[in-house]
Symmetry: D3
Subunit: 187 residues, 6 copies
């Protein structure tokens, strides 16, 4: 499959891959999630609802549909020829020039700075290609690793949002990080 | 028209009215907005796009559609038998138990505590009828009157959101107020 | 729930309530129907198909949808703080200025003139708010109580329509009552 | 065009033709209506809104759509190789086994018993093919010719419906004729 | 049912019948297919998926829908008062003036020249009524009878299309026959 | 824009780019077409209908929509950092395992073997990623350059299709080239 993927290079060995709505790609992502549900499921409520390749394919189609409408951009992360996670721009609002970034990474690939570099690239994509003015990142207050990514990627802590999301039958406070176009420095 | 409206009493002389998607009600609201555009238009970007009764009727229909889907509840404010503004719950998210409240009042009726009482009533509606857990209010940092309403209605200031909205060709910082179900006291 | 309903007063202790598409209201109506199926089911073919709160909620949503399009107006009847039945304007045809009224009442509340007063109010709503010119009521020839309501509300008998409806596996003759705007006297 | 039409014979020289949604047939019908608007427009409100072949084609497509859903059957009337009018079953309600018949005939072909024979054929189609139990015909109280057709085709007068339709800016009383399956005699 | 069908005569005893989307017609066609699946199923992949009258009715509705849009015309073949098969124009492309003809005949009626005459009639319908410029027929290279029909109806062999269709879990070569408007001679 | 594109390398200096439905990419393609209409318009009927960036953007959205449904895959051709044309798989039919390839190249880049290499790559994509069994290429009999591409990419001439397409008010014969999976050799 590798030679038939569309890639946008991030840096040495790291690429963002354009998701095709094919069963092949859906299977590759599903297998990654399925083998890592303890790590991923902790802060990602959708993990426990993704129980088949078809679920993942339906998700890819929904995201592709939203991309046509300019609401969401999904990118698959490839590191050293392996698919290792995804990152996306969502809640894109052209009127206000805003969006949010979301991401997840297989537990086998954490600690290498992969996500920080991807967040920088996707933020640049938002500011340059989509002409956004502000991008937010939300992460569970207990998800220290995710917060570190946001900070290293240049996002500023703004506020702790109380009871921001409900999952696993409980309300969770979320840290809100913000990057304004005028504070964004490429490179 | 008065005897054919559905009302929910707030207190002495103050009612919330259920919006019907009739030309009669659309005309009453449009006339109120149309005669007060300087006051209302300053912080409400939709005012300058509402140029006919038909625009208002289309808006009422869109809101009624969203109410069926459980996303938005719109209420018309009636004070001493006059329609004087509207208030709504929007961005209703049952998964997270969240929503936002938005409102506007004719300039002829400010300074009487009308909106504070309406916000309390609508917040109660959200917590009791819709089983929400958290309600937010956003207001332009320059809109002191709106912020006072939020505070008097029991909402707590959480953060100033930079460049939160773009209107009148400029980005505007917004103050964010939050009321959690556990901090809400009825009465 | 009572303090969060929208009401239009009919007279002493009697209100029309605006139906919200909430599970709470759907449950209240379903329980009323479910406990009274022998009385209600005799002339109302939909009763035996309404077997859950979800059925009733779907019905309320369908009616709300038709109300946005101006085809149907549904009202819930509240008597002495109890929900006791519903009344509606349906088959609304603005070109011809026509509609029909339909209604049902819990068996525990018959014989008090509740429905006659409601029909008068809803007819007034149709002539005044919706600018109708003619309203019809149809009732099974064996449903004497329903015919009495139509007559007491000022409707005139026009014709017996043979084999007008099929329900309970049989054709039923229906009495047709008509009220023209010029014969309608408010009060 | 004649050799590419689908026909159902009524009797000597008289056929019902299945309407195709082709420009050719739309043009043939439009020309017939367009040359006879004084006669046809008096009791048919749609005549003055049919101002082009495209209008007629859109109408044929709408009717074909309703036929797929089983709501309406439209038939074109051909007499001595000329298209001379149309007849239809509409408001088809399979639950109640009911429908209405509507028709119009070019002024050049009235007085020959054409429509009476067509109504009998279409009524038979409704009772036999569609298993209807009752068919109604409505005609303006001033439209004596149309009432004569209904009577000669075996329909019984039931009632005069006051202010039944609004057209030409006025309300019109309509005579209602009814034929029950048990009173229908073929032949 | 016979007296309520719309027919276009082909020649002595042979008619094309306009398909109505009625259960009666669906049942007549389904029974014909169902009793002849060995003969019909060999080259028609849809036969094994048509397992009920409802399947056939859904097919008739889909074809009627496509006819409204001008993409497909379906005709039922009647020979000596029996329904014996169908023939259709499909893939109608007005821009290029092209379409394809497809057909099947009950095994009890082969060898009588029925289909050749029907193909000629339907081709004439396409060239005259729909103003086509070219019509194609494809048949499995093993389906000699079908190829004979195409040739006798005046179509010219153009090419053998390798692996043109996949059915019964195998790829099948198809012969392609073509008739251009300029080579078509009526009669 | 270059650093925010998704690429699939073909060979030295030559890439296929994943089309995003952004105004930026639409403008780049539109400008290429708009400056080369004499060359491109001769055999591509859509060129004269593409008169604005919005037309091109709508086309990209339509193609993205069809890609989600698996009917069409569009690729933008980039040579030495310039967008120089597009190539696509269309009429994808998974049941029969078939599709067609279409392509166009800016006149400034012909004669370099660019398209032959792209066709090979896209054919490989179809056989490997989409599991096709057969791919066709059609070109106007006068378009010798296009036919040469097909042949050099390994496609076999099958037939000349008479009056295959109508454009510029005339019917055009098309050469049909075919590549079967079993004849396809990668590399």
């Amino acid at each position: 499959m590798e030679q038939y993927l569309f890639r946008m290079p991030v840096d040495e060995g790291l690429n963002l891959v354009a998701p095709t709505t094919t069963e092949k790609l859906a299977a590759a992502i599903f297998n990654l999630v399925d083998g890592d549900w303890e790590h991923l499921g902790r802060y990602l409520p959708w993990v426990e609802k993704t129980t088949s390749v078809q679920d993942e394919l339906n998700f890819l189609k929904m995201m592709a549909q939203q991309q046509i409408e300019g609401k969401t951009y999904l990118f698959v992360i490839e590191f050293e020829n392996q698919i290792v996670g995804t990152i996306d721009l969502h809640f894109i609002n052209p009127t206000n020039g805003r969006a949010e970034i979301g991401y997840w990474l297989s537990s086998a690939y954490t600690g290498k700075g992969i996500m920080t570099r991807c967040v920088k690239k996707v933020a640049a994509y938002g500011f340059k290609m989509l002409e956004l003015n502000r991008i937010d990142i939300y992460c569970d207050v207990e998800n220290v690793a995710s917060a570190e990514v946001a900070k290293r990627a240049g996002f500023d802590f703004l506020a702790t949002q109380p009871d921001a999301e409900r999952y696993h039958d409980d309300f969770h406070d979320m840290q809100q990080y913000v990057l304004l176009r005028r504070n964004f420095m490429e490179g």
